[in-house]
Symmetry: C2
Subunit: 332 residues, 2 copies
Amino acid sequence: MTVTIYDVAREANVSMATVSRVVNGNQNVKPATRKKVLEVIERLEYRPNAVARGLASKKTTTVGVIIPDISNTIYAELARGIEDIATMYSYNIILSNSDQKEDKELELLDTMLSKQVDGVVMMSDKVSSSIQQAIKSSPVPIVLAGSVDEKKEAASVNIDYYEAAYEAVNVLIKNGHKRIAFVSGPLDYTINGVYKLAAYKQALQDADIELDEQLIVAGDSTYDDGIAAYEELTVVQAPPTAYFAGSDELAIALIHAAQDAGKQVPNDTEVISFENSKLARMVRPQLSSIALPLYDIGAVAMRLLTKIMNKEEVQEQTVVLPHHLEIRHSTK
Amino acid sequence: MTVTIYDVAREANVSMATVSRVVNGNQNVKPATRKKVLEVIERLEYRPNAVARGLASKKTTTVGVIIPDISNTIYAELARGIEDIATMYSYNIILSNSDQKEDKELELLDTMLSKQVDGVVMMSDKVSSSIQQAIKSSPVPIVLAGSVDEKKEAASVNIDYYEAAYEAVNVLIKNGHKRIAFVSGPLDYTINGVYKLAAYKQALQDADIELDEQLIVAGDSTYDDGIAAYEELTVVQAPPTAYFAGSDELAIALIHAAQDAGKQVPNDTEVISFENSKLARMVRPQLSSIALPLYDIGAVAMRLLTKIMNKEEVQEQTVVLPHHLEIRHSTK
DNA sequence: TTGAAAGCGCTAACAT
DNA sequence: ATGTTAGCGCTTTCAA
């Protein structure tokens, strides 16, 4: 029923090797033969079986993508970058959500490897030691996208989160604030708990502003968490006059909460975000924010993976992309 | 180097058939043998090669997912529903973006079929006749998620878009508006150009409100398009006092534009949306909206696909899920 | 309960 | 330039 390379060979009066050659664009085929074979392929609607091909060649031209949650815009944006470049290099993608669960990540990696992917791009907000171990012992290359392996052993693509966060907090400091809150996503995520937090503290210290632990509130990165954080911060003595938000949702929530409390943004209170998704322009006032090049991170990660899969030279396994500060109207 | 079923067989002093049986949970294996084999599998870290398995069994336990754009939250939400159910039934997903291009869709379908997927879930805002044709001639089942095939030949999961749109427009009518705009996404998308539009017209007609074509403005579904639409509508004679927006982004833009023009929402002008994403609660006032059960549509579509792949009885190939109206504060 | 053996559809030497 | 053939790692009859 399904037509195989053998059927084509018979119909075209050539061997299957020849058919295989024309299908794979091998130049060692007389134009006339090629033409004949191509015709038969067309007539029979022959479609090469990639599974058989994969078994014989040990290459599947598919890569695995492990993502925390595809319905989260941050990751979706990364995924788009990954997929675009994958397509460009003729790879397909097996995409699975890990929900940031370590056991799920490990399990996914295992099933992807059993499916013989040629490589994998992984996103994980906390690269545990077992994941690091799994990456090291993987038979195919794995690159981290927007995820940091503190040991820097794995190939990865990121921005300089510390530097970016420092800049953000500095905007607030420069504008004269002394009471600056850090409303963050989960602190057990490396980017938050290590880089942003350290940058926040350092920036304050460099400006001789005393650190007040009460001004650091971490939850999830959702709108509701932002609202809750505002409430929580409202009861501390000398409440914050400025907020460094870990995400756009958090920032928007902070703005709305402030406005509901009768504050003017940015006149009474300023907010700076760390993301710059399309949401940033969908609030009034529009968000000032560190701009994360999410799509690019995904794209570069996939590109890096193709290089490694092809055993090309790569001078730097841990690439750091540039970021920038997008000043709009939630800061003065 | 990589350990095969043969290595395991040798080490365990059984035939590969037996190893295959224990790997596949076949009951015809003596417990003692099973135990022995399992031990060897563990010791050798044997990982079955899914590609070889796929070739031999003609099943890959992977399904294709063709999506317009994963970075668009609507589709990302659908994708999450699909993936969750796929995981539940032990399928993996090959995910590709079509950008709503017909040739891309066809091409993706072709490569997915060549990769021997067991089925595919497809999202497409306009199911062209060549796609319909491709679906019909596909060797594996294909189900449409949140996408309508007007001929109703393909399996699909949707809500009743006409009914939903009718309800939305009716809210505005009930609130006394006579000048109701329809700010839509692309009208060549079936849901917009056929269902919503027809419902809009019918609702007006049923309320004896004269249709004014000028009040129908279609563009893309982005924030900027919403802003542009507001501007455009501002210059018509007797500008609209209420807006039926095709998406949350459009709705938010409309609200902001109205507010910038000095209007109070919902007192001066009302807006109702058609989506109800998390964005709906991230504006002030919060959006009244038709709630699309995106995740469920994806989940049910995948569930339907598993049934068809298993050749189970399905009484209805075109399932219609319930929707509801979420009234918040952008309408009175 | 277990094993032997024939494929699954293709690639990749190796010959010619 | 083309053909022959031996796998790739597994599933699945069919026998035993």
